[in-house]
């Protein structure tokens, strides 16, 4: 059930039942809700689309595409941002106060969006090397053999190359906060050039589907 009206933050001292899903809290000081909270769905998609692309295919450097991601991947990361379990200058404030149902609706929408073909052409040598390295790292054991992702494990196929590089480096260097420590273990000590090759492979993998 969608709640259409929201009590002011400080007055909402007791959240009943589903109201806790709004992220109300007694323990912590007041925080500003995200701009998308309470907007109609179409306007929420515009807020997200300003960075992630109107169809979920990001045209912005360093910003991931959401198109084709498993729903649980998006839901979990949004909840980590909302609960401030994953700190990110941009996304933590964008998720603050978003109810579960709104997050789930956005996740369902982006999951359905087709993944766009990446710009430019792959470097066959680099791509082959990346494929080999990704196999060695057993990336497919979680992200699926076609790198389409599954449940909380994101789709990598067709993701922006610069984002994949930055994300893998951030896991390796332990600068990407968040409760999921699996990728920190996986990326430990992986050199930059291996990361670049894997990212190249994964980005252009989709182009040949």
């Amino acid at each position: 059930m969608r709640l259409t009206t929201r009590a002011p933050w400080r007055r909402a001292l007791v959240a009943w039942g589903g109201a806790a899903a709004l992220g109300l809290s007694l323990a912590l000081p007041a925080a500003e809700d995200a701009p998308a909270v309470g907007l109609p769905f179409e306007e929420q998609v515009q807020v997200c689309g300003a960075c992630h692309g109107s169809d979920g295919n990001s045209q912005q450097a360093g910003t991931p595409s959401l198109a084709g991601q498993p729903e649980l991947t998006i839901v979990n990361q949004m909840i980590y941002f909302r609960e401030r379990l994953r700190q990110n200058e941009v996304m933590t404030p964008q998720a603050r106060g978003l109810p579960d149902g709104e997050i789930q609706a956005l996740a369902a929408y982006y999951h359905e969006q087709p993944v766009a073909t990446p710009e430019g052409d792959p470097d066959p040598e680099l791509k082959a090397l990346g494929q080999e390295l990704a196999a060695q790292q057993r990336c497919a054991s979680c992200h699926q053999s076609d790198y389409r992702g599954r449940e909380q494990m994101p789709r990598l196929a067709g993701q922006r190359e610069d984002y994949l590089v930055a994300a893998m480096i951030a896991y390796r260097d332990r600068t990407r906060g968040g409760p999921d420590t699996t990728m920190i273990d996986v990326m430990r000590g992986v050199p930059d050039e291996d990361i670049e090759a894997m990212a190249h492979y994964l980005t252009y993998l989709h182009a040949e589907e």
Binding site: M1, L13, V14, A15, W16, G17, G18, A20, A21, G23, L24, S25, L26, A27, L28, L72, V75, N76, I79, E83, R84, L85, D100, I103, Q104, Q137, R138, S141, C142, R150, E151, Q152, P179, T181, T182, M183, D185, V186, M187, R188, G189, V190
Partner: protein
Amino acid sequence: MPMLKQHLTTAISLALGTGLTLGLAATAMADEHEPAWAQGRSSELADSPLAPHATPMTVTAEEDIPLDHIRLPDGFSAEIWAHGMPGARMMARGDDGTLFIGTRGIGRVYAVLDNDDGEKREHVIVAEGLTQPNGVAFKDGSLYVAAINRILRYDDIESHLANGGDIPEPEELTEAFGLPDDEHHGWKFLAFGPDGRLYVPVGAPCNGCEVDEDTHATIHSFEPDGSDTRVEARGVRNSVGFDFHPETGELWFTDNNQDWIGEHSPNDELNRLSESGEHFGFPFCHGIGQVDPELGEADACNGYTLPAAVMDPHSAPLGMRFYTGEMFPEEYQNAMFIARRGSWNRTLSVGYDIQVAMISEDGELAGMSPFLVGLLDPRENDFSGRPVDVLQMPDGALLVADEQNGAIYRISYETPDYVEE
């Protein structure tokens, strides 16, 4: 829902091919890049579909809570007591009747306010943004919370809740307790003993490895302020639930055994601590005398305490309590109710239930039988709920926390009319 079905056929053929010797067959263990849950997986199983099931972090709508799946012995019935609390795990009850509930992934501690009217039973979030605050315990007006990296104490919490005001910042007891903060098996259960001390387990920081016997794979006890550390139990791989015998005061605890050794071994355990400092065998000896294929010598089980009872391998027994209430039939007096979260590291799922353990006459062993079942559908090899803790209410009813659905069930008993009083 987890995608068990689609992998079932391949997983079964894999299991048949490798049989019971999974761990023995391959010494080539996975490399250092494996995530924590995959530690110890042999190279033959690198493509195994077995992996932990993700816990939902969103509210399960009341109509989707699988109450009608629950099956209980005659005379017992289940109702939804509270819901809407994603990831609800371990429970502790305050003196004024507030139920405090820890979580893992979502980082919250919930409080369900005492209210007999189930339609409007309210809950609030008393803490958030914590790293896996699984453990909760209550003493002398204070709520104790154990997160992976912190121990916190919220004083006079029930009066703050009753006044509807803000909850003051907790006392930070992290340094006083000085516990390790490893992520792997680092989520902690908490309970006060009859001696007034706070008992805290520290799991092994690995699937299987040698550990410092004074720090890891232990159950510690402390004075409530974190002073006077004592190692109560050693060689305990990962206990996430314990309670004290109502008459003897002995500590009984569940223990989760090693993954990837085999689909059908080692058994998970229910243990009894008869003497402070006792060693229960990890990492050399598992279950009832199963020598570890990597670390154990032939006589590895000599000198270690064996379990009081064993449970299905990988079934994940967690929260457990002795029953002392007056509502349930006499046979349940001083029996233990044990919540099993359910397996992931075997092809055919087990657990997802509540077992009841009755103690033998000599007080040393226990016999196990199913109590609450139905959340596991063996035909589909799928599950609809995951019991993680139990708690006895003053009227003798039993609360059950379902982590999968963020719900608390209340189990009550009424003598069936065919039974002569």
